[in-house]
Symmetry: C3
Subunit: 131 residues, 3 copies
């Protein structure tokens, strides 16, 4: 298991971490297996979506924020309930197949760290299994 | 890793692919392990839900569409932002345990390919691990 | 694969099952690997979120219920479509890395069984892989 750091610069932001995951898989030497990307935070998440046009992740963030606004009738006193809810909706882990030493992502797919309560310094765990 | 094709016939549609996954697991000869179902598209997804009454997946599609309408204040120019958002909400992979050579699904559970920007010809990757 | 039982006491309720998963991992003797938590129901789910302040999961349940009300324009005749939709949004499985015999959860993370159509007696499958 390897830990990488992600520095976010906005309150809500998706950071493309595909390059980091590709590098970890290459470094592991695993040819056939799977890689797990795990976010150990409860106000962040990880999702796989289009990385070509940045407006796609912009639209995901904006729509989630319209459905689950920052201010609302929340009980949790820290004022970041919206971020916890978005975290559960995106999920805290993703898995991708490794075949012939390569990450099997679709043409348009990228792996995004989802910040919902930034800016912060965050951690992501990457675990490669296989042979 | 095996690839299957799914042809969708509507703009938004859930296609039950449980039979394909069951067949791949049987063909693999794996008795104890796991199967991963991975969708390499960014306007589609995969979910596990009730397969007995087709009104259940009809209600999931209709409710997602009410919350995240096809037309909206989106920036992505292709006009399918709603589909990208729904893709991240459902997720692009699912895993199911294999025990004694059988897929351990609940009584009512089926595996559904989720089309949000069809009709199209789509791919699904199925990877079986174990022994 | 081990099965645990979860008794829910409310219509909608998140039950912290972290202790059960920690125990199963310890009992397995696996030092490095992963644990999968799988819910075989279609009106329940499993998520990872903050376990310190119970108001966090209270806010998740309340917000999901505002977006996807119990009563609505649903076709499924059993009257629990809202629960099926919430199940697909939370997901029916979670995976956590095991390192040095310990579950690698973030400081604030707990594993929650998500009941959306209770109260009921429910099952959760726990599968540990690794060595």
């Amino acid at each position: 298991m390897i830990e990488i750091n992600v520095k976010t610069t906005k309150a809500q932001q998706f950071v493309n971490i595909t390059g980091d995951v590709v590098k970890m898989v290459a470094d592991s030497g695993v040819k056939d297996g799977e890689v797990m990307v795990y976010v150990p935070h409860t106000t962040a998440g990880v999702t796989i979506n289009e990385s070509a046009d940045p407006d796609v992740v912009r639209d995901i963030i904006a729509t989630l924020d319209k459905l689950i606004p920052v201010r609302g009738d929340y009980h949790h006193a820290e004022g970041n309930s919206h971020a916890h809810i978005k975290s559960s909706l995106m999920g805290c882990s993703q898995r991708i197949i490794i075949s012939d030493g390569r990450l099997v992502l679709g043409t348009w797919q990228g792996i995004f760290f989802c910040e919902f309560d930034g800016p912060r310094s965050r951690r992501v765990y990457i675990s490669v299994t296989g042979k």
